[in-house]
Each structure stands twice: as structure tokens, then as C-alpha cells.
């Protein structure tokens, strides 16, 4: 049994690993299904609105009725899968910031788990159905439970800027867990990085151990090898300083780029941290790779028997590095922010009206006898509900006009804490 076999038994591998095309097609399907449902829901909402108008104003002319309907249907322009992805990414960045507002801040690992929960959830759910704003806090709270960083719900809700209630946080819990297919374990690249760094430090101090298939190497050989590698991208005073620097840069990449891109869906934790390490200090990372797999040729010019594995790995790491490097935070990029605002406005018009207030919906569900939902009375309830939501939307719309430039409503995290 090797480590790979153990990883292959994990839910992260079994359920949450994809190829690029399979990931793309899954997102396209989710988007198509959600768009269809949003259109249907908006149609229902519109019809409900008309039927109330009808009863108030007597018999309407059938033609005008048709006209309104056609116009409405044409107007609903849904998000594309790419736009959905941008939106989800924005809320992943927000999750990182939200965790920072707590005292003490929620550990990076817990925040990273929450971000992966969000990303996994939105593979089979659309932001048009469930707004990420309402799922995000719940994802972070669930992560505190699954990652043994327990805070009470009350304390957690109090820590969120604004007037978020405990009900708002917990309402989507089951929905989220369903979307996660009840798998809560996320395998992160952080621990692997710590191991690699410890190993390099040991080598630097002359206490390194050779790989099992390279028994002829001594601790001195390894130490000498490490001291003779190419200089770092940024000059450093000593080897331990250099390792510490690379460690820090890699951690930052794992905290940001690795979380906000599809890295977890496409690569294993060890591939991810190694790719980030390559970006932080290439000669250092390549040295560690040589220690593990031996150089491409030995001193007699013989080709390393692990050459094939090595070149395959090299290819994967290059791809993963490129993915990590492609990431720039939305909030620091005016062009991306502009496009985000456009998407948010668009979402406002194609948000499924029947799923807007999850906490309220849950309260209604629990107070109503469950039999009524299935009977004819249930239809009446759901229609009046749709109507209520339509009114609410109209009210909100009026409010929105007043705060036009702030598409998400009040800022979740104040500007000060962002820096």
C-alpha cells in the first residue's frame, strides 16, 4: 500500500476530482438546468402578479396579457457558466476576509475548507438559485464544525459585520451538506508543504536523509548539493532564511491562488504545494525533486530509471503552476471588479424568486403541517408566497436604485480590514 492508494480512497479523489473537460461540462449542465428553472419561476411569479391585477381590474384583454408575458420572457437573461464562476470566486475571496474579522481570526485551514465547500456546492448549484452571499457564512460555520475549530452559532453570527442572524447562517446548512454529498473532508496542501520545508531545513543543517532508492547519498552530499544550487529569485542572507522565505511565499499562494482557482478539482494536494513551491523558489523546489527522484542523469550520464515518472510529474507541475500563476484577486483588479458589478446586476434580474429567503422559507415549512404542502392548499400557499416575494423584489428594486453603485448592498467587510 502506498500513499497514492490512500489518497485514492478519499472522497476528495472519489467525488471531487475532475478533468478539465468534465469540470466544464458539469458546470454547463448546472447552468442550463438552473436557467430553465429560473425562467419558469419568473414566469410563475409574473402570472401570479397578473392574476392579482386581473381580479382587481376585472376582465383583461387576452392580447395584452400575451404581450406582457412575451416581453417578460424575453427580458430574462441568465448568467453564463463563466459569469457564475466569477461570482463564486468573489465570494470565496470574501470568505477569506470574513474569517479574518474574527478575534482571533479563524485559522487559514478552516477558511480554506469553507472555500472548497463553496466551490464544490456551486458545481451542482447555480448562484441564480442560491445566492452565494447566503451560502458563504454557512459554509464557514460548517467548516468550523468539521475542522474542529468550534465556535457557537451565536458567537459566529455576532462576528459577521452587519445584522446577520443565527437563522440566516444556519438556514442553508442542510442544503449545503446535500450539495457536498455529505462529504466533509477536504485534503489541503498545507501539511505537505510543512513536511517539505522541515525536510529542507534538516538537509541544510546536515541532517538530511536520502530517499530509500538512493542509499549511497550521505547527509553531507545532500547538504553540499543544497548549498550549491542556483541563487534564489530574491537574495537572502542564509540558506535557512531562503527556505523560510520560500515557505512564506508558498503559503500565501496556497492560501490565495490555490483556493480561488480549480486547483483542488484538478490536482492532488502534493502536486498543488509543489507547484506553488516552484513558483516561490524554482531552484530550491527542483533540488527537493532531485533528492526525491534523483536527477535526470547520474554522474556517469546514465538516464535515471525514474525519468519517465519525473517528466510526467514535471508536466503536471508546470500546468498546475501556470494555473496558480494565472490568478489575480478580483478586488485588486479594477477591470475584473467592473465586470463583477455587471454580473451582479445581471444576477439581480435572474435570481430565482422562490429561493430568496431561505431562513424565512424554513420557518414557514416548520410551522406548517407537512401534509398541507402536498395538498391543493399547498399550491395556494406557494402562489401567495410567490406574490409576496414579487412585492418584496419590487420594494428592493426601489431601494436598489438609491444605492446603484453598491451592487451587493452594504460592504460585508469594511475597507480597513481589507488592507
Amino acid at each position: 500500500m502506498i500513499e497514492d492508494d490512500i489518497y485514492r480512497a478519499s472522497s476528495q479523489y472519489r467525488l471531487w476530482s475532475y478533468t478539465e473537460p468534465s469540470l466544464q461540462s458539469l458546470r454547463a449542465t448546472t447552468n442550463a438546468v438552473a436557467s430553465e428553472r429560473v425562467r419558469a419561476a419568473l414566469r410563475r411569479s409574473c402570472e401570479a402578479h397578473q392574476s392579482t391585477a386581473t381580479s382587481a381590474a376585472g376582465t383583461p384583454l387576452p392580447e395584452s396579457n400575451m404581450e406582457v408575458k412575451n416581453k417578460d420572457e424575453k427580458d430574462v437573461e441568465c448568467l453564463t457558466p463563466e459569469e457564475e464562476l466569477v461570482l463564486v470566486r468573489y465570494y470565496c475571496e470574501k470568505t477569506l476576509e470574513l474569517g479574518e474579522t474574527y478575534k482571533p481570526p479563524i485559522p487559514t485551514m478552516v477558511r480554506a475548507t469553507a472555500i472548497q465547500y463553496l466551490r464544490r456546492f456551486y458545481l451542482t448549484n447555480s448562484p441564480m438559485t442560491y445566492h452565494p452571499k447566503s451560502i458563504m457564512a454557512c459554509a464557514l460555520f460548517v467548516a468550523t464544525k468539521t475542522d474542529n475549530y468550534y465556535i457557537s452559532l451565536r458567537q459566529f453570527a455576532d462576528g459577521i459585520p452587519g445584522d446577520t442572524t443565527t437563522e440566516d447562517v444556519i438556514a442553508p446548512e442542510f442544503l449545503l451538506m446535500q450539495g457536498l454529498r455529505f462529504t466533509f473532508d477536504v485534503r489541503h496542501p498545507f501539511r505537505g508543504l510543512e513536511g517539505g520545508v522541515l525536510e529542507l531545513q534538516a538537509i541544510a543543517q546536515g541532517q538530511g536523509q536520502p530517499a530509500p532508492h538512493l542509499p549511497y547519498e550521505t547527509a553531507e552530499d545532500l547538504q553540499q548539493g543544497l548549498l550549491s544550487i542556483a541563487p534564489p529569485p530574491v537574495p537572502s542572507s542564509s540558506m535557512s532564511d531562503r527556505i523560510a522565505r520560500a515557505h512564506g511565499t508558498t503559503r500565501e499562494l496556497l492560501k490565495s491562488a490555490a483556493q480561488m482557482t480549480d486547483a483542488y478539482f484538478l490536482y492532488t494536494p502534493s502536486q498543488i504545494w509543489f507547484s506553488a513551491f516552484l513558483l516561490a523558489d524554482r531552484p530550491l523546489a527542483e533540488f527537493l525533486l532531485d533528492v526525491k527522484l534523483a536527477p535526470e542523469t547520474d554522474e556517469n550520464g546514465l538516464v535515471n530509471p525514474l525519468y519517465e515518472i519525473r517528466s510526467k510529474l514535471h508536466h503536471v507541475l508546470t500546468e498546475c503552476s501556470a494555473l496558480l500563476q494565472s490568478y489575480t484577486p478580483l478586488s485588486s483588479d479594477p477591470a475584473q471588479m467592473k465586470s463583477l458589478k455587471r454580473i451582479a446586476k445581471k444576477l439581480y434580474h435572474c435570481q430565482n424568486p422562490e429561493k430568496v429567503n431561505l431562513a424565512a422559507a424554513q420557518k414557514r415549512e416548520s410551522t406548517q403541517p407537512s401534509t398541507a404542502v402536498q395538498s391543493d392548499a399547498g399550491i395556494v400557499t406557494s402562489e401567495s408566497e410567490t406574490e409576496r416575494l414579487a412585492k418584496k423584489r419590487k420594494l428592493e428594486q426601489e431601494q436598489k436604485v438609491r444605492q446603484e453603485d453598491d451592487v451587493f448592498g452594504p460592504e460585508l467587510v469594511t475597507q480597513r480590514t481589507k488592507q
Binding site: Y18, T29, V33, T124, L153, I170, F174, L175, M177, Q178
Partner: protein, 404 residues
């Protein structure tokens, strides 16, 4: 290497198949057409409200039929059920009760149990086939059906005779299950005979992951209030907040001793009593035999007159003659007071006791007992760390450790 996930061992993983895209397409098609055969789709009112994830959940739920209740506790209800399409395929369905006082969503026990069982697929760990939620948002775990009862039942039944070859078989299965947990960086933290369930083929399965957690990062604190008292290692009794897989190994040693003696080896009435019984039995922990022990929060120094010297190999051989000298050596390595000196799961498995005579009994020849389904029901409804009061009251006797 772009990885693509492939099937799982769960019987109903078709829903959880990697081909979610196709699956979702099919669900969508079902939703838009009317009058399809599926029972779930035939309720038109609900169907319009249903999102895809809800539909997937319903599909899982519809796959099982509950037959009868076999256990009920404060925390859960357990049913025996079967796959709808195959009445011969039995499963245990554990429905977690919603705790009205707990307002923070799904309870931690359930979160832990689901989290770890989803990851740990091994012949000696109870299999989690599926998870679904019911209409009232109760969580149900579809678990492997284990009608053979548990090890506690066999230990306590004086009508059942078993020997060292049987113990070797059971301990081997336990050690492999624990090894798999540790290999996956999971601490079980509640190993005891009634969490060791027995399958119809005699295989022992580690169950109840309600107290489990992943290994903590170095310097990160964990709670010391885990593991049922009689199986709790000295470092936890002393309040250690940083510990390792060694805690589970101690529990394993206690189960081993109990299998040999047919009564719990050190059964304290309180935590303090447990500590003193451990000292009496194995020796008093001191800075000499356990460097650093005096710094643990609840460590109490014993005055010189009452110091019990650390027990050696001859003590274990005298106390557990049935194990034989090699078996006693393995037991001793599991019961080292200093957790750093205790064997790891791998070291236990490499011990030569497994390979010497007698060979472990084959599963089909292991002693068994009827009434196991009821026991499984009771075991699965218990909350982690609970001690069944009066469990050994009649059987417990004062043990003479040969000190006087």
C-alpha cells in the same frame, strides 16, 4: 496528472457517480416530462419546488426501505432495512435525532461520524453506504448491517468459550482497523468492546466515530475528555491536550486484556480512581519512566513510600498466562505508560505474536452468539464516550495485581 474519480464501494453509488453531469441531465429531463415511472416524480406539487441536489437526496432515500426499529437512544434511532430492489441486502439505518436544545445545526457527533466514515473504507471499519436527509431534515446514515453483536457480548457471556486463537483473530482485525484509521490521520478516541461490532461472517468492525478527529497539527490543542474511562490512557487522565494515535493503542491494549481476563482490567469508578488503578497495575508514572509527565495539568506526584515500580515483562506473563510470553510482550508494548514508548499500530501489526502458534481462528470458526441485531441497535444509538452503567457491575471483581 488530472485525476478522474471512479466508483466507490457503496452499493448505491450510482447517484454519487462521477458522471454527475449525465445524472443531472437525466434528472432535469425527468422534471420537465410528466408522469414518469419514478415514485418521487409522481408527486407533481413538490416536484416543481425541487432543486437537483434535493432530487439526488430523494433518489438515495428512495433506494432503501426501513423494516423495523432495533434500537433507540437519546441520540439516534436504528432500523434494519434493505435495498428496495433487493430485499436480501440488509442495511442498518441510523437516524440521528434532532436535539431541540442544540441550536447550532447538525450535532458534532453526527458531523464527525459522517466525515470520517466517508473516508475510511476498510474491512475492519463499519461501512457507510449512504447518507440522506428526510423531509424533517433529520440525517440518516445507511450503515453496514452487523448482526453478530459485539465483543462485549461475547466477553460477558459465560456460556461462550473462547481461546487464545480466537483472541488473536479478533485482536488482529481490531489492530488492522486501528492501523487504517491512523494511516488516514484519524484518531478514533472511543475504542472499547461494545464499539467493536461483528459481521455475519465473523469479521470485527470498528464502529462509532462520534468522537473521532483528525490528527491535530503540532502544538494545536485537543480535548482530553475522550475515550470511555476504563479504556482511557494515563496521558488523557492527566489532562494532556496534545496527543497521538498512542491513545487508541492504549484502548486496544485494554480490550486485549479484557478479552484475556473476561472482565475489564482497570475499571475505575471515577477519573481519579481510574488513574490510581492504572498506577497500581502498571506502575507509578514518574519523570524517570516518563520524561515530561509531571508537567501535565492533572499530574499528582506520589510520595516515595507509595511509588509502585514500573511493571516488567514477568508481571504481564504472570497476569496474562493465557496470552503466552510473546502475547504478553505485545500487550505490554500497548500498555507502556509513556505514550512515546507505546507501540504504534504498525509496530503492533509487525509483532511476532501474530505468526507464532496458535494461528488465529478462521472467521467462520469464531465463537458467535445470537441476538446480535438487537445489540447492534443498542450500540449504534449510544452517544460516544458513554459508559453503560452497570455494564460489569455483577462481573466486576477486585483484581489482585500480585502486589501484596
Amino acid at each position: 496528472m488530472a485525476l478522474s474519480p471512479f466508483g466507490s464501494r457503496s452499493p448505491s453509488m450510482t447517484v454519487h457517480s462521477p458522471n454527475t453531469a449525465i445524472r443531472l441531465r437525466a434528472t432535469a429531463a425527468q422534471n420537465s416530462s410528466t408522469g414518469t415511472a419514478s415514485a418521487a416524480v409522481s408527486k407533481p406539487v413538490q416536484n416543481g419546488d425541487r432543486e437537483l441536489t434535493e432530487q439526488l437526496n430523494i433518489d438515495v432515500r428512495e433506494r432503501y426501505v426501513k423494516d423495523r426499529k432495533v434500537g433507540e437512544g437519546t441520540y439516534a434511532v436504528v432500523y434494519v432495512g434493505h435495498l428496495r430492489h433487493d430485499p436480501s441486502s440488509l442495511v442498518a439505518i441510523k437516524k440521528i435525532k434532532v436535539n431541540a436544545e442544540y441550536k447550532d445545526g447538525l450535532a458534532m457527533d453526527a458531523v464527525r461520524e459522517v466525515k470520517y466514515l466517508q473516508e475510511l473504507k476498510h474491512p475492519n471499519v463499519i461501512a457507510l453506504h449512504d447518507v440522506f436527509s428526510s423531509k424533517d431534515q433529520n440525517l440518516s446514515l445507511v450503515l453496514e448491517f452487523l448482526p453478530g453483536g459485539d465483543l462485549e457480548m461475547l466477553i460477558k457471556d459465560s456460556d461462550i468459550q473462547y481461546g487464545v486463537a480466537d483472541i488473536k483473530a479478533w485482536m488482529g482485525m481490531l489492530a488492522r482497523g486501528v492501523w487504517w484509521c491512523h494511516e488516514n490521520f484519524v484518531l478514533h478516541r472511543d475504542i472499547k468492546p461494545n464499539n467493536l461490532l461483528i459481521a455475519s461472517d465473523g469479521e470485527v468492525k470498528l464502529a462509532d466515530f462520534g468522537l473521532a478527529r483528525s490528527f491535530a497539527d503540532p502544538l494545536f490543542n485537543m480535548t482530553h475528555q475522550v475515550i470511555t474511562r476504563w479504556y482511557r490512557p494515563p496521558e488523557l487522565l492527566y489532562g494532556a491536550r496534545q496527543y497521538s494515535g498512542a491513545v487508541d493503542i492504549w484502548s486496544m491494549g485494554m480490550v486485549f486484556a479484557e478479552l484475556l481476563l473476561r472482565v475489564p482490567f482497570v475499571a475505575g469508578n471515577t477519573d481519579l480512581d481510574q488513574t490510581s488503578k492504572i498506577c497500581e497495575a502498571f506502575g507509578t508514572p514518574t519523570e524517570e519512566n516518563w520524561p515530561g509527565v509531571s508537567k501535565l495539568p492533572y499530574y499528582i506526584a506520589t510520595d516515595k513510600a507509595h511509588l509502585v515500580p514500573l511493571q516488567g515483562r514477568d508481571f504481564f506473563m504472570r497476569q496474562f498466562p493465557t496470552a503466552g510470553p510473546v502475547g504478553a510482550d505485545l500487550l505490554m508494548s500497548m500498555c507502556a505508560l509513556d505514550p512515546r514508548k507505546r507501540s504504534t499500530a504498525v509496530q503492533c501489526l509487525r509483532h511476532n505474536w501474530w505468526t507464532i502458534e496458535p494461528r488465529p481462528t478462521k472467521n467462520e470458526d469464531l465463537p458467535r452468539k445470537s441476538g446480535g441485531t438487537k445489540k447492534m441497535g443498542d450500540d449504534l444509538t449510544r452517544r460516544g464516550g458513554e459508559l453503560d452503567e452497570g455494564m460489569f457491575k455483577s462481573a466486576a471483581r477486585q483484581l489482585d495485581f500480585g502486589m501484596k
